[in-house]
């Protein structure tokens, strides 16, 4: 094989590989990403595709947390203070899960219920997931800086530390 022909082959193989990778990435981005919705977007704007995993986020409605008859499935309501969505989650809730606090749940939407297989709460109790903060802001029920966590409500944090 001549040098030129071989170079051409190498370039072709490289281009094909690049093309294959690009196709793979695009397909994966098409199928495997998970969209985040607030309860309002799900209920009022009907944005939900039943075949896709979705994430919803908001606050856990106070007094809504209960156990289903099987003793293992947790039932709670996620609210953005304008609309609510019930969530079913089989398993142990994360340690940080609390009524009145921000939460993100991921799963499929079935019969007006989010059947979640993942529930996320954050490592830090004074931290609001940005998506949740955004969802709450959009619904007009919460503004940045407003105390929202249990710790702040109960005055657990000394005043001089609050704004830090």
């Amino acid at each position: 094989m001549k040098k030129k022909t071989r170079r051409l082959y190498i370039a072709l193989v490289g281009l094909c590989a690049l093309g294959a990778i690009a196709a793979l990435v695009l397909a994966a981005l098409e199928d495997d990403i998970v969209f985040f919705f607030s309860p309002t977007e799900v209920i009022e704007q009907g944005k939900v595709d039943l075949d896709r995993r979705i994430r919803i986020g908001g606050l856990v409605e106070a007094g809504s947390v209960e156990k289903a008859a099987d003793g293992v499935t947790n039932i709670f309501v996620v609210t953005d203070m304008a609309n609510t969505i019930p969530v079913h989650y089989k398993g142990l809730l994360p340690d940080l899960f609390r009524e009145g606090q921000g939460v993100v749940a991921e799963g499929y939407f079935r019969n007006d219920v989010l059947v979640a297989d993942e529930v996320l709460a954050k490592h830090d109790e004074n931290y609001m997931p940005p998506e949740v903060a955004d969802a709450l802001k959009k619904s007009g029920k919460w503004e940045e800086g407003q105390p929202i966590t249990e710790a702040l409500k109960q005055g657990h944090v000394p005043d001089e530390l609050k704004d830090k």
Binding site: R6, I10, I21, L24, V25, A27, A28, L29, D31, D32, I33, V34, F35, F36, F37, R55, K67, D70, G71, V72, K90, G91, L92, L93, D95, L96, V104, E106, L120, K122, H123, D124, E125, N126, Y127, P129, P130, E131, D134, A151, H156, V157, P158, E160, L161, K164
Partner: protein
């Protein structure tokens, strides 16, 4: 008092860093060697000052000086000493101080261990390193001062986040930072080389051990973080493709590529400008990682309290560091012409292939990590990119690399004999086939992932061992001769062999843990029995216990297999005295073939919700990471890495003198 000394030391360090960063670079073109030499002593002074600041903060934490805001927010008198110390870096301000301490330590280490370095290169490297320190010291002093005082001193502190009070996590940040920040040295060497316009074999020989050291630390840091997530978060997962994890994984991938391409520069005088590019990229990704973690632009289960304004500062640093170095690279890069020509099928070719794949993989992780941000910015909704995306893209990209890893080390430089190698490695084909069949027999029809992963792991493991056999001519000469050859293998070769075997074992561990995990969630009353993957868990009861600074509910499980007691597992749910969240302490019994893993949850009726797992081959994952680290250490101990640039001949010195004049 100590806090003020610390603060003052930090301010002094900033001035020293400015001098160390500016003077040598300014003096270089003027050819003033004496001014350039200021970099050495300055790097030591800078290290001492920053170490003093760090010691002052540590003192405040250990003595629980709550008049320091940072201590009041993150410590508590009843915390065990280990967590008082780890509390120093368990928060934003302290962790940034650790960042610059490590930055200064690496600079100082170059001065101390770099006596053989050409003085021009050394001084310029130290200057560039110091400019990075200037940026981060300003960041600390202007936005995140760890020594801020409280006028109204609280009686006690708010304590460290209980999840972080854990031995694995106590040492996770220092190792991670040693890795992240360690790449700064490769970066500084690269920039210094660009300024001098000269990259040669001795340059590569100098950069390799530093890159290797950083890579080792980063490997340990990532493994510790993964291990912590496995036993502390209580759902048995070990990698979540979370943005913060990706932030540490991207520099690891780029660093691995750099490690391999530097070999080509050293041995064959080729791939020079590519290696410089990788050095810039590896540290750039470290900075990007710091930005992503510190700014909170991305949601993450790992992100703790973040602040957008600080993010902007780091973003500016990132833009200056990356933009500036790419501009310099664009000007000087083309002049770095490589000398060594090679055929596509050769050791160089294989290493280049390795680099392509690793950088592609880095790019994919970067894309996945930043994609949600991009979608958010164009206002197309909010998305998260998780494990399904990465599994689908990452595995096909990395597979050819793993396949090639068995062949590459046997290729000769310049022109390799792929056909010859492929025709001789029938043992490797056989073992791989056997592994696939064995997996099929043992696991039945549990999906393709298992056969594929075990096949790949076996291919790499047996392939690597076969490489050794070929090297020592096992069976082709007398056994004694082979042993002699084995003893003569350089440490760098040993290091490579161990690290590649480590990767094979890690792949096997990932395959097992990813494909054959068994999870059972249920309510158990006392005395109830549940079977998980052939092990019978009996819930024996719960009791309240008292730890050093927490109350805990301790659930006891006995585990039997075939009627014989395997172990007793004690899982805890802790409530820390300082309030806040309870934490779950999973009970884990590691075995060669898998871990028994039990978590006790909330009370439900008369019983408790429990989660029981069989996590197969997970110990292989950690063991494999251990071997990767060991391989790195063995390679680092190679004499050729310790002895400095050997050809410090008059010629080289002359070139430096000319470079200094130019």
């Amino acid at each position: 008092m100590y806090a003020e000394i610390g603060h003052f030391a930090l301010i002094l360090a900033l001035f020293v860093a400015v001098v160390q960063g500016v003077v040598p670079l300014a003096a270089g073109p003027m050819g003033n060697r004496r001014w350039m030499n200021i970099a050495g002593p300055a790097s030591i002074a800078q290290f001492i000052l920053i170490a003093a600041a760090f010691a002052a903060l540590t003192h405040a934490f250990v003595t629980s000086d709550f008049s320091v805001l940072n201590v009041a927010k993150n410590s508590h008198t009843d915390k065990p000493l280990l967590y008082k110390v780890s509390g120093v870096w368990g928060n934003h301000e302290g962790s940034m101080l650790l960042w610059v301490l490590i930055l200064a330590t690496f600079g100082c280490a170059v001065q101390v261990f770099g006596r053989n370095l050409p003085s021009g290169l050394k001084n310029r490297t130290l200057a560039v390193q110091s400019l990075i320190t200037v940026g981060f010291l300003m960041f600390i002093l202007f936005t995140s001062n760890p020594f801020e005082r409280l006028l109204d001193v609280p009686a006690n502190g708010q304590s460290l986040n209980p999840l972080l009070q854990d031995p694995g996590l106590a040492f996770h940040p220092p190792f991670l930072y040693l890795g992240y920040v360690g790449f700064s040295i490769a970066y500084s060497f690269a920039i210094a080389a660009l300024i001098e316009g000269r990259v040669d074999a001795s340059w590569a020989r100098w950069v390799r051990p530093w890159t290797l050291a950083a890579w080792i630390f980063l490997t340990v840091g990532i493994a510790l973080g993964s291990w912590w997530a496995y036993y502390e978060l209580g759902w048995g997962g070990w990698w979540f493709w979370d943005p913060v994890e990706n932030a540490s994984f991207m520099p690891w991938l780029a660093g691995t590529a750099l490690l391999h391409s530097a070999i080509v520069v050293e041995k064959r005088d080729a791939l020079k400008s590519w290696t410089i590019f990788l050095a810039i990229i590896a540290f750039g990704l470290s900075l990007l990682g710091t930005f992503l973690v510190r700014s909170g632009v991305l949601t993450s289960v790992h992100a703790f309290a973040t602040d957008p304004e600080r993010g902007v500062f780091i973003l500016i640093l990132l833009i200056i560091a990356i933009g500036g170095s790419f501009a310099l690279y664009a000007v000087r890069g083309p002049s770095l012409v490589g000398g060594g020509l090679f055929k596509p099928v050769s050791r160089e070719g294989a290493l280049l292939f390795n680099n392509w794949i690793l950088t592609t993989a880095t790019g994919v992780v970067l894309l996945g990590t930043l994609y949600p941000l991009f979608i958010d910015v164009i206002d197309a909704g909010k998305v998260s990119v998780g494990a399904p995306f990465y599994n689908r893209v990452f595995i096909p990209i990395m597979t050819p690399l793993v396949i090639l890893m068995a062949l590459g080390p046997l290729m000769s430089w310049k022109r390799g004999d792929a056909k010859g190698i492929l025709s001789r490695m029938y043992l490797v084909y056989g073992a791989t086939l056997a592994a696939v069949i064995l997996t099929f027999i043992l696991k039945g029809e549990e999906g393709w992932g298992g056969y594929f992963g075990m096949g790949l792991a076996t291919w790499l493991a047996v392939g690597t061992l076969w490489d050794v056999a070929e090297r020592i001519k096992l069976g082709k000469t007398s056994f004694g001769q082979s042993l002699k050859r084995l003893a003569r293998q350089p440490r760098a070769t040993w290091g490579m062999t161990i690290a590649h075997l480590g990767l094979a074992i890690t792949i096997a561990g990932m395959t097992g843990a990813g494909n054959w995990k068994v999870e059972k969630i249920q309510v158990m009353n006392f005395g109830d029995q549940i079977e998980v993957a052939g092990f019978t868990y009996t819930f024996e009861g719960v009791r309240d216990i008292r730890g050093p600074n927490y109350d805990a509910l301790e659930g006891t499980f006995t585990v039997h297999k075939d009627g014989k007691l395997v172990t007793t597992l004690l899982a805890e749910k802790r409530e820390y005295d300082t309030g806040g969240m309870p934490t779950t302490e999973a009970a884990i019994y590691p075995m060669f073939l898998g871990d028994l893993y039990a978590v006790v949850g909330d009370k439900s009726g008369d019983g408790y919700v429990t989660r029981l797992y069989w996590n197969p081959l997970i110990a292989w994952l950690w063991g494999g990471c251990g071997l990767l680290t060991l391989g790195g250490l063995v390679s680092l101990s190679d004499r050729r890495h310790r002895v400095g640039a050997p050809k410090r001949s008059a010629l080289a010195n002359k070139a430096i003198a000319e470079g200094a004049k130019a």
